[in-house]
Symmetry: C2
Amino acid sequence: MAESKSLPGVVPMKPATPRPGARPGNCAACAVRGLTVCAPLSPAGLTEVESLSTHLVLEPGQTLFDEGEPADHVFNMTEGTLKVFKLLPDGRRQVTGFLFAGDFLGLASQDTYAFSAEAVTPARLCRFQRRQLDGLLNRHPEMERRLLSKASHELAEAQEQMLLLGRKTAKERVASFLLLLARRAAQRGAPVDPLPVPMSRTDIADYLGLTTETVSRTFTRLKSDGLIKLLPGGKVSLVRRDALEEMAAAG
Amino acid sequence: MAESKSLPGVVPMKPATPRPGARPGNCAACAVRGLTVCAPLSPAGLTEVESLSTHLVLEPGQTLFDEGEPADHVFNMTEGTLKVFKLLPDGRRQVTGFLFAGDFLGLASQDTYAFSAEAVTPARLCRFQRRQLDGLLNRHPEMERRLLSKASHELAEAQEQMLLLGRKTAKERVASFLLLLARRAAQRGAPVDPLPVPMSRTDIADYLGLTTETVSRTFTRLKSDGLIKLLPGGKVSLVRRDALEEMAAAG
DNA sequence: CGCCCTCTTGAAATTGTTCAATAGAGGTGG
DNA sequence: CCACCTCTATTGAACAATTTCAAGAGGGCG
């Protein structure tokens, strides 16, 4: 809930985008195109996509959309980190994923979003009208194929996460999480050694099905066991990645 | 592998198929076509699909494929119940889903299956060569769209399951599970009042991230609280579905 | 410099697990 | 058709991992 504030005398730090602020996109210059669903598009296709898309900026904590809202748009992340999550009526929260540059989101099997999405770090996205997606995919089967491929990937990741949530211990969960972040960072060519871990302990806990206290304790133990180093600025060094891999009991 | 049986004089109870036994498909007579990815196909498309597919029969406990195996086929379930699951090296198991008539499976983002699949009840499936799927989807965009739609559904269900595994109590998990089975049964027009629950307590436990003991105790409590009735033959009557819904804390 | 918020740390409480029997159900063979 | 056998489900009691409750430490920002 909540709203923009445009009270006089207040000079907002950020573009004060009501909800996300929009500007025209620029696909030609897109640094992460190779990671996105746009990757296989021809120059002509790219031009069309650009004409249909809008660029958004989100500040940390800003909501992209809420579960249950009409699913009018789909998005491509171009920069930053998002979290997607579901809530129970009493406020319990499950973060079902973190999204990074190149990730697509907004597919909905109903006409409403099945989860909420919120920025973890400053983020940029391209937005498309859902209504235009169908035609776009019809005209660009290579894009649809790519989307299907991304969906398959996501499905596999979701199952991995179910394994984690249903069967792994706290230590295994945290180790798996760090390795996941590292893999995803490597994938998109982001720094890995001092691995940025931009999300809060609460977000991590809600992702791993634990409490912040347990996450914190587990980090501390991994640190005192010499497997990781906790660096300032929310960065982590995976000192003994091999040991982490073993601990993660990864499939 | 696998074969038709036309041996004279022998009337096997079951086709006694080593691994899955195969026979030609018959899409025209398919009773569950409306539930499958084949639903939107034209008669011509249907004919093509039929020519590319083989029909399989699985007996309870039979493996369809194992995690890590080359993902050479994709499948449409036409009858019965399957479970799909992942294993940790030490044997811990997470059932990531139960599949029923109309469900599609086998999408893999790698060239190997990301999970194992095994029959819970006698089951029938149509099998396609993965290599032929691409061409098929190219020629039948309506089928590809349908597949994408199914994938979106699955993604949403996976997130619901993550919420369950990460944040729900044992009671909530079991209630959610029964309601899921009931919803899915209704969807495909299967009996709902005495709801068939064909999977073992172990399978249920591995699906819900619990132990068989906890599942059993929870069933017992739901029963003595008058919310359900445990009937012979693995059937359950959801006596107070409203109370179950509330307990499930469903999103 | 001090406030606020997040993270860390400690101790007690709990849910669910583990270990251990007992009870049932289904299937087989006499 | 019944007795027996085996596998699965149920139930009980002790145990353990994680949560909950409660402070305290650290860090960033105004």
